[in-house]
């Protein structure tokens, strides 16, 4: 190899990369699109009839959770059915394994793409069922996009969605 060719190769790389747009974005002012298979915060579906949580309070998610993230407190409703007093989800302990989503017999728990989990106070990481419904509903755009099979890997994504 002629003398100096290494320098030229290096210079060429620098010039090429220097003309590209930077990979970094100014988060949080600019938020990059994330992959639709991204495993974000667990959300909760809204019950179409009652308008509240779809959760029936069976506690299987609590049992399936390897990390003691979920706590479901239940009591008896006036009509004898099970009433979910409160549904607590400690995001700070969650490892996004989604065992809870698999365990849920009524598909109340759903995957979302939400990754905005930063708070200034760790108490903010303890969210309840209402907050989880909000997270799920704010994720609407992603869910619709996902259904249109954008980008590579759509086949795998569809397989994942079909379960």
């Amino acid at each position: 190899m002629p003398l100096g060719s290494g320098v030229l190769t290096g210079l060429k790389t620098v010039l090429m990369v220097g003309r590209r747009k930077p990979s970094t974005v100014m988060y949080p002012e600019h938020v990059r699109d994330i992959g639709y298979r991204f495993r974000g915060q667990v959300g909760m579906r809204r019950d179409e009839v009652t308008g509240g949580m779809t959760c029936v309070g069976c506690g299987l998610c609590e049992t399936a959770c390897p990390n003691d993230v979920i706590r479901v407190d239940t009591s008896e409703n006036a009509d004898g059915t099970r009433f979910v007093d409160r549904y607590l989800f400690d995001v700070g302990r969650c490892v996004f394994c989604y065992f809870c989503i698999e365990a849920c017999p009524v598909d109340a728990l759903q995957r979302t793409h939400d990754f905005h989990l930063v708070t200034e106070d760790r108490r903010g990481l303890l969210i309840d069922g209402q907050k989880m419904i909000e997270i799920y509903e704010n994720d609407q755009a992603y869910r619709e996009a996902e259904q249109h099979n954008i980008g590579p890997g759509a086949a795998i994504a569809n397989w994942f969605e079909r379960g």
Binding site: G57, L60, E62, S75, G80
Partner: protein, 809 residues
């Protein structure tokens, strides 16, 4: 040998079992698992579910239910052939045809035997069209509900209620495919609410209403403990979650409960998490009790006690222990009093048992001491006198019924009110309240003139009872020592002792009124006793106690409680007891407490004593501490902490030990175990000869010509201060009631539920009237241990048997 046991072969393995054992028991004895649905070890074999089928040779050429087939010599049993497995799978598939798949929603999920079988038989889908039933859930009573859809008709609830409890409140209704379980007598299930039908139900058909949807069965922490509500001392499984007790269940088949509980054991736990608990120390400032820190409270107590000790000497200080707290708690208090404060003014408010035990010991000697329940149930004749033990000590009552029916014991019942025991009795009679001791003496052979007028029992019945007692080899005399014995506990014990002196086979079973009343006596929680219930005058006992405690025990016995509070009292330390409310003279006791320089009350709920106290300390309930209760047999029942104490509450022994440490005497205990060890070393029982002298008991007054006689017994659903804070129990009996016979009620034109006024010489109470079949004519029953209407308000000294007048308000 061969007549005692049989030898059979199970799956090629030879096994020896006692003659009479079933094939199922033989299989279980060698660890061969046979799936069952309708089997409960407490119940007799029934053979309803056909899950336990096996092939037996020689035997019928078809699968045989192993639970109902007795094991025979030379049998060959095959439990795991393909055809047997197919049958079992088929049985479950047929059950699933109608069983709803609402496991995520069902309270029984996790402990459901049908669910377990579905997993074991690997059933993933049904070959049949599934037609779940769709009946609504039916509420049977305040605490029990039934979901007919889940029922598999195994009949365990029906048999449990009949065989074990002797109530027969449930039965099968309709026939064939339309069969369902329903209350046997009425639409409303008016039973003893023991909850054992819920306990035995293999699926989620019978459900506990207080526990409904409260937690999933696998999420709860299970702690083996002992029931705090009465002196039977049943073992409990306390299930807790996130620091609160969610339910209690029966735990194991051992003595004394043999696997059953009563309403108080099964449903009476919610007082633990009651919002009315005392959760922090309170100190009186400017006349009002105000929250304080532990260190402030301890400083106030130690300064006050030291001031009283310096100014008035140890005779001015006294401590009151409690039959509601553990042996360890009472022992710590006693050691604090005798060794640190230097006073023998040590009390416990379990007067009924203490009086009975003292009398029996004086007459019969130390041989009278507590005896085991199996001795009771194996006696030829069981004589129940006075209060209905089916109400006061329900589980012993259930066992007595069973012994009378299944084991052929002769049951003689001489109670004041009609009871469930009557149905099982050979002779049942109503004794007039106040005449129980006379009746016992008459049974012993004493010639009582005017017998019928005094006791209400005619000569023929008395002769029938007496001849059965005299003909029997062993006789168990059972009586409750609750509030009804107030003022006559000695007389009743003397009457029973007379019977024991007249007949060698007589064994006496005074049933203490509260969980640890026997423990407080055996621990010597009295001014003249020491641990082991040894007399204080015994020099050897005093020396041993002094050595163990590292301080001399004063030889001078303390004063009687009433003399003490009316006399030298300057400081009183009360643990878990209401000395004002439980006193014969509440106003006097309250005035005495207000006069005193320092009153410390340590309790779980506010009461008249804590209201009058200078310092109130938050104690712990049975579910929050370790220790032991001593039951009526003298058996130790172990408590284990299931949840941490609420708020700033601490175990009672720890509070006393901290007060002692603040006074400069640190016992060095960090858990209850060293206390248990230390007190066990001191619990040598004395060997005392009795006087063995029969004594005439004072005759009862004849029945008043007009008006009523008062009978005061503890009701099944009342359990004192803690029981009245247990929501489920207050649902069963929401307010204080007086019970009247239907004829009397009609005569006074009182209807069920009317307000009435009971008045006697001592005072009067206003309360609701119930027309109850169990009350005989001329008697009005005021159940004890309500908070708002105490029998003592009518007659402070001896309410039971007092003449009362009844008016409609």
């Amino acid at each position: 040998m061969s007549s005692e046991t049989v030898t059979l072969t199970i799956d090629g393995q030879e096994v020896q079992v006692p003659r009479g054992a079933t094939v199922l028991q033989a299989c279980e004895s060698i660890g061969v698992e046979i799936p069952t649905l309708c089997t409960d070890p407490r119940l007799k074999p029934y053979g309803a579910c056909r899950m336990c089928v096996v092939e037996v040779q020689p035997g019928p050429p078809r699968p045989t239910a192993s639970c109902t087939t007795p094991a025979g010599d030379g049998m060959t049993v095959v439990t795991d052939s393909q055809s047997i497995k197919d049958i079992r799978k088929h049985v479950i598939e047929l059950q699933l045809q109608h069983h709803p798949l609402d496991c995520p929603y069902c309270d029984q999920a996790g402990t459901c035997e049908l669910q377990d079988e579905v997993f074991d038989q690997e059933i993933f889908q049904s070959p049949y069209e599934t037609v779940p039933k769709a009946h609504p859930e039916e509420i049977l009573n305040e605490v029990i509900l039934i979901n007919h859809n889940r029922c598999i008709l195994c009949g365990r609830c029906v048999r449990m209620c009949d065989e074990q409890i002797g109530v027969r409140a449930l039965d099968f209704v309709e026939r064939a495919v339309g069969t369902f379980i329903a209350p046997a007598q009425h639409e409303f299930m008016d039973c003893e609410r023991c909850g054992m039908c819920i306990e035995t139900c293999p699926v989620g058909a019978l459900l506990s209403r207080p526990f409904k949807h409260a937690a999933r069965s696998w999420q709860t922490e299970k702690t083996a403990s002992t029931c705090p509500h009465c002196a039977v001392g049943c073992s409990l499984l306390v299930e807790s979650r996130h620091g609160s007790v969610v339910r209690t269940r029966s735990n194991g088949l051992e003595e004394p409960d043999r696997g059953i509980l009563c309403a108080k054991g099964f449903f009476g736990h919610s007082f633990v998490n009651s919002g009315e608990r005392i959760t922090e120390p309170l100190v009186r400032r400017n006349g009002a009790l105000q929250p304080a820190s532990w260190s402030e409270a301890l400083n106030v107590i130690s300064a006050g006690l030291r001031e009283v000790l310096d100014a008035h000497g140890p005779q001015a200080v006294g401590v009151v222990g409690s039959p509601n707290t553990t042996n360890e708690d009472n022992y710590t208090l006693q050691r604090f009093a005798r060794a640190v404060l230097g006073t023998n003014n040590v009390y416990s408010q379990s007067s009924g048992l203490h009086a009975a035990a003292r009398t029996l010991r004086a007459v019969l000697g130390s041989a009278a001491g507590p005896r085991s329940q199996s001795e009771l149930l194996e006696s030829d004749v069981i004589l129940v006198v006075g209060a209905d033990i089916g109400q006061t000590h329900n589980v012993v009552g259930a066992h007595v019924k069973q012994a009378a029916r299944d084991d052929g014991r002769t049951l003689l019942v001489a109670t004041r009110l009609a009871s469930g025991l009557d149905d099982f009795a050979t002779v049942a009679a109503r004794v007039r309240p106040g005449a129980e001791a006379v009746l016992l003496s008459a049974l012993a052979g004493a010639d009582i003139p005017n017998m019928h007028a005094l006791t209400g029992i005619d000569a023929d019945t008395l002769t029938a009872m007496r001849s059965r007692v005299q003909a029997a080899g062993t006789v168990a005399v059972v009586w409750d020592t609750g509030v009804w014995t107030l003022g006559k506990a000695e007389a009743i014990a003397q009457g029973a002792a007379n019977l024991a002196l007249a007949h060698d086979g007589v064994k006496l079973f005074p049933l203490p009124e509260r969980a640890n009343a026997a423990g407080t006596f055996l621990l010597g929680m009295a001014p003249d006793l020491l641990p082991g219930a040894r007399p204080l005058s015994d020099d050897e006992a005093r020396r041993q106690a002094s050595d163990a405690w590292g301080a001399p025990v004063p030889a001078e016995p303390g004063l009687a409680f009433d003399d003490f509070i009316d006399g030298p009292m300057q400081a009183l330390y009360v643990m878990g007891e209401d000395v004002v409310g439980g006193s014969a003279n509440p106003q006097g006791a309250q005035a005495a407490l207000e006069r005193a320089r320092l009153v410390v009350a340590q309790d779980i709920f506010m009461n008249a004593t804590t209201e009058a106290a200078d310092v109130v300390l938050p104690g712990a309930t049975f579910a929050e501490k370790g220790g032991h209760f001593t039951n009526f047999e003298g058996r130790l029942g172990r408590l284990a902490p299931a949840i941490p104490p609420v708020g700033k509450a601490r175990p009672d022994w720890e509070i006393v030990a901290r007060v002692s440490a603040a006074m400069g005497a640190d016992f060095g205990w960090r858990s209850h175990e060293p206390i248990s060890t230390e007190l066990a070393g001191l619990m040598q029982r004395p060997s005392l000869p009795g006087s063995r002298e029969s004594a005439a008991v004072n005759g009862a007054a004849p029945a008043p010509a007009d008006g009523f006689v008062l009978a005061t017994e503890q009701h099944l659903y009342t359990a004192g201060v803690s029981g009245r804070r247990a929501d489920s129990l207050t649902l069963m009996l929401p307010e204080a009631v007086a019970e009247l016979n239907a004829g009397d009620a009609q005569r006074l034109s009182i209807a069920h539920g009317d307000r009435i006024r009971l008045s006697a010489d001592g005072g009067e109470v206003n309360l609701k009237a119930l027309v109850a079949d169990r009350v005989p004519p001329g008697v009005v029953s005021l159940p004890d241990r309500f908070l708002e209407a105490a029998p003592r308000q009518l007659d402070p000294r001896a309410p039971d048997g007092a003449a009362v007048r009844v008016h409609k308000v």
